[in-house]
């Protein structure tokens, strides 16, 4: 009898435990599943954005309402098939339709086109269709007709030399485009900055009434000299620009229109239906690299996102450099020096709650305090010459980093405090017994031993800061920044300037761009890059932490 009851207690205990185990593992499984799904979607959609798609030539029934400019034959990249609810017909409510990227926005006025699958009578993939990437209006999808080379007769697309000539001319055009960019962005930019500083000096002297001094005359002369330089360079750039329009490519759209496009406006061309798998891989890699390394074009919906990657990277690093010392110092004071009591407990609760404040609130605070108060004061004191144009009194890299640092400081404080608490008491006593002062003990023994905890805090802060968008919109992120925050112009760091950010870029592409359908692949690709960037930065921090952990491994004794 006694034996039986013992067995009962055992058997009644086990299932309850099992249920809890199942429940908790289910929770984990659901969480993991959702994370995997979102990652899979982003990775898949992000990567397919770079994969070159084939172009279909679609012909619809004669009585179909789906025509472009009256033409029943048109072409476009097949984006996908989807179903649409149709309320106009009584019997059938679901219609399958095909979404095409037809390009040629300059001619059609749109770049996506939907056709009901039932209306299509023929889909072909002719090899001679050309897909041309342009500086403006997205891609052109058309059949090449001929190449008009200045001073020569035109070369027909059927002739054997057509491709070689086109390729060669495109290369010269691309080189010239770089040259123009150099002159306009770099050299003229430099002259503009010099002229601006001369203008400021002149204004200062005029205000102080030194207009008849030797120095002032020199400034005037220098200004005139620069003006001359500027005009020479501008003329040079203008001449180069004119050359870009010399040769033209004549194409015929599948809807019948004939167009001539100056080569200077074209960036790249392909015959998408002729690509073998290996060519597609090369094109894929090329697309991806140019997406990462190029500047954006056309309201960010085309081109690359390099400035945004760079801005995010620099801002996150700078923010971490600000937040870590601040958080570590606070944590040291809280857990090592402050007398434990009500006050410290309140501070700790406040710090923890700070982590729960909506980030936009930090943005508002950053705008009000850093930008309008600190920044404007700095402008008053040191940059009064340029006023009313603000220097620090407007959003910028510096204030964005400060704002995010403020937002992430609780994370660092909490993690550092945990790291400090984990340092065994014996180690501190050993240090004191050797004749070290309290600060020496903290600095030489406790902090190194707590370094992994500090780095954990930094990782968390970076992860939170890098993905934040809302506060940045108030304190310094812009859709398009003219220069990078870190460049070759003295003083190299331009932390007062506005910058681009991947998170904001996603928002901007997805919700603010004129053609959000066209931008969708870019949104996913940008999101993918943001994730990769954050993960990469975290991996570096984790690697450092593991090295430190091995170095300062706390004794297991």
């Amino acid at each position: 009898m006694a034996r039986k009851s013992k067995v009962d207690t055992f058997s009644s205990g086990a299932p309850a435990g099992d249920a809890l185990v199942w429940l908790s593992s289910l929770g984990l499984a659901v969480g993991l599943f959702m994370i995997t799904m979102i990652l899979a979607v982003i990775i898949w959609q992000g990567l397919t954005a770079f994969w070159p798609r084939e172009v279909a030539e679609v012909t619809v029934r004669a009585d179909s309402e789906f025509t472009i400019n009256g033409a029943q034959t048109f072409s476009g990249e097949i984006v996908h098939y989807k179903t649409r609810q149709d309320y106009t017909k009584d019997n059938k409510t679901e219609v399958e339709e095909l979404q095409l990227y037809v390009g040629n926005r300059d001619v059609y006025g749109f770049s996506f086109f939907y056709v009901d699958v039932d209306d299509i009578i023929k889909i072909e993939k002719p090899a001679d269709i050309m897909s041309i990437e342009r500086e403006e209006y997205g891609k052109a999808i058309a059949r090449p007709v001929s190449l008009h080379i200045k001073g020569e007769t035109s070369v027909s697309a059927d002739s054997l030399e057509f491709d070689d000539r086109l390729r060669a001319l495109m290369d010269t055009v691309a080189e010239r485009r770089d040259e123009i960019h150099d002159i306009e962005k770099v050299e003229i930019g430099r002259i503009n900055r010099k002229m601006e500083s001369i203008r400021l000096s002149r204004r200062r002297m005029e205000r102080e009434g030194h207009t008849d001094s030797e120095k002032y005359r020199k400034l005037v002369d220098a200004d005139a000299g620069l003006q001359g330089d500027y005009e020479t360079l501008a003329a040079e750039a203008g001449a180069l620009r004119d050359l870009q329009f010399e040769h033209e490519l004549e194409v015929m759209l599948l809807t019948g229109e004939v167009r001539r496009m100056p080569l200077g406006k074209l960036i790249n061309y392909r015959y998408p239906n002729q690509l073998r798998v290996i060519d597609k891989c090369v094109a894929f890699a090329h697309n991806m690299v140019s997406f990462i390394l190029n500047d954006p074009r056309e309201a960010n919906t085309e081109g690359g996102i390099f400035p945004a990657i760079f801005g995010t990277f620099v801002m996150t690093i700078f923010m971490s450099l600000l937040v870590t010392p601040f958080g570590v110092v606070s944590a040291i004071y809280l857990s090592e020096y402050a007398k434990p009591g009500l006050m410290v407990r309140m501070v700790r609760i406040a710090v923890n709650n700070l982590a729960g404040v909506p980030s936009i609130v930090f943005g508002v605070f950053g705008l009000g305090f850093f930008v309008y108060f600190v920044g404007a004061s700095i402008d008053q004191l040191f940059f009064s010459d340029t006023l009313p144009t603000p220097t620090f009194g407007t959003g910028g890299m510096l204030w964005a980093s400060f704002t995010l640092a403020l937002m992430t400081v609780p994370v660092v404080i909490v993690a550092t405090e945990e790291g400090l608490l984990a340092v065994p008491r014996g180690m501190r006593e050993g240090g004191l017994a050797c004749g070290a002062s309290k600060w020496q003990c903290i600095q030489r023994i406790v902090l190194p031993a707590a370094a992994p905890g500090i780095l954990t805090g930094m990782v968390l802060a970076m992860a939170r800061g890098a993905g934040e968008v809302a506060p940045l919109m108030l304190v310094g992120v812009v859709k398009l920044a003219p220069t990078l925050p870190l460049n070759t112009t003295w003083p190299y760091f331009h932390f007062e300037q506005k910058f681009m950010h991947l998170g904001f870029h996603i928002y901007d592409l997805g919700f603010q761009s004129p053609d959000s359908e066209a931008a969708k692949p870019m949104v996913f690709a940008t999101a993918l890059l943001l994730i990769i960037l954050v993960v990469a930065m975290n991996l570096v921090a984790i690697y450092v932490r593991e090295r430190l952990r091995r170095k300062y491994a706390v004794s297991a004794v």
Binding site: L432, A553, S555
Partner: protein, 313 residues
């Protein structure tokens, strides 16, 4: 926090002029109290205390008490942990503290170099004097005191640094940075702690890779490197096997030539093997303090006899 009773007989000043030759550089007894005083070298050359010259002049023949504990009471909050302890530790002797667990041995030891300062809500009465000066003197430089009174803990606590950096830690925090000086000190201390031969080829690898016994000897070397005059050891062998224990015991016997050592131990054989005098504590009271020979052969009290013969404890 503490109310210190300074009303202690000042006649009990020690006599240190007994001319024992040290193998370590000469150390002056009173330097810990020169809290404002210059470099280490300057401190060492400071004038010998008048107590010493006075006693040398009078030629008093009494035990030279380096540590003298007078009417010492200790409270953790309201808990009276040490009651009226009176004890003199003579120079260059080994004094063993024995007694059942919880009787206050560690507490007393930690009071000597003021490690109890770290603990909240304690109260100390009476006085502990080192070379005649109270360790509770508000003008005393605690850091200098701890440099002169080294401590080895029950649980070895090497720092998460290299072996070399562990040994020279005390010198580094004292601001000494000359490499040759540090290296010489490290070698001397490691040799004194009988660890040199085992680690000389890996001085710059992590101290946490050492065995438990090696770590404990490293902690002893770390205490020696500061050139203290007193070393307090709280059960240094409690976590070690007999081989490591005997190594440390041998080392302690060698160190005795240069240092005054107070050692807490639960091992009666160890106390009888290495110590010159033994103090037996029971429930916060010092029951008996005499030469080790006397305590182990013919103790005065019944409690001591019972404890030593293992009848309780």
């Amino acid at each position: 926090m503490k109310s210190v009773n300074h009303a202690v007989d000042l006649d009990n000043r020690y006599d240190a002029g007994n001319g024992v030759v040290s193998t370590l550089p000469s150390r002056d007894k009173m330097t810990i109290f020169d809290s404002e005083g210059g470099s280490m070298e300057a401190q060492r050359d400071s004038i010998r205390p008048e107590a010493e010259t006075a006693s040398a002049a009078t030629g008093r023949q009494q035990d030279s008490a380096v540590i003298s504990i007078r009417n010492f009471n200790f409270y953790y909050g309201n808990k009276h942990t040490l009651m009226d302890v009176n004890l003199n530790v003579p120079e260059r002797e080994i004094v063993a503290f024995i007694g059942p667990s919880g009787c206050g041995k560690s507490t007393l030891l930690r009071s000597i170099n003021r490690m109890n300062d770290l603990i909240e809500d304690i109260r100390q009465e009476g006085d502990i004097r080192i070379n005649g000066r109270s360790v509770f003197d508000p003008n005393l430089d605690v850091i200098a005191l701890r440099k002169r009174v080294g401590m080895v803990f029950q649980k070895s606590n090497p720092f998460p640094k290299s072996i070399f950096e562990n040994v020279v830690f005390g010198l580094r925090v004292a601001g000494r940075i000359r490499k040759d000086e540090l290296e010489a000190a490290a070698e001397r201390s490691l040799r004194a702690a009988a660890l040199w031969d085992e680690v000389s080829d890996r001085l710059h690898s992590s101290a946490l890779g050492l065995s438990g016994g090696q770590m404990q000897r490293l902690c002893i070397a770390r205490a020696i490197a500061n050139e203290p005059e007193i070393i307090l050891m709280d059960e240094p062998c409690s976590a070690l096997d007999p081989v490591a224990t005997s190594k440390i015991e041998e080392m302690i016997l060698v160190l005795k030539k240069d240092f005054t050592i107070v050692i807490v131990t639960h091992n009666m054989q160890q106390a009888s093997r290495i110590s010159d005098r033994t103090a037996f504590f029971y429930l916060g009271k010092l029951i008996e303090f005499d030469t080790t020979e006397k305590i182990f052969s013919n103790p005065n009290t019944r409690q001591t006899e019972d404890y030593i013969s293992g009848r309780f404890g």
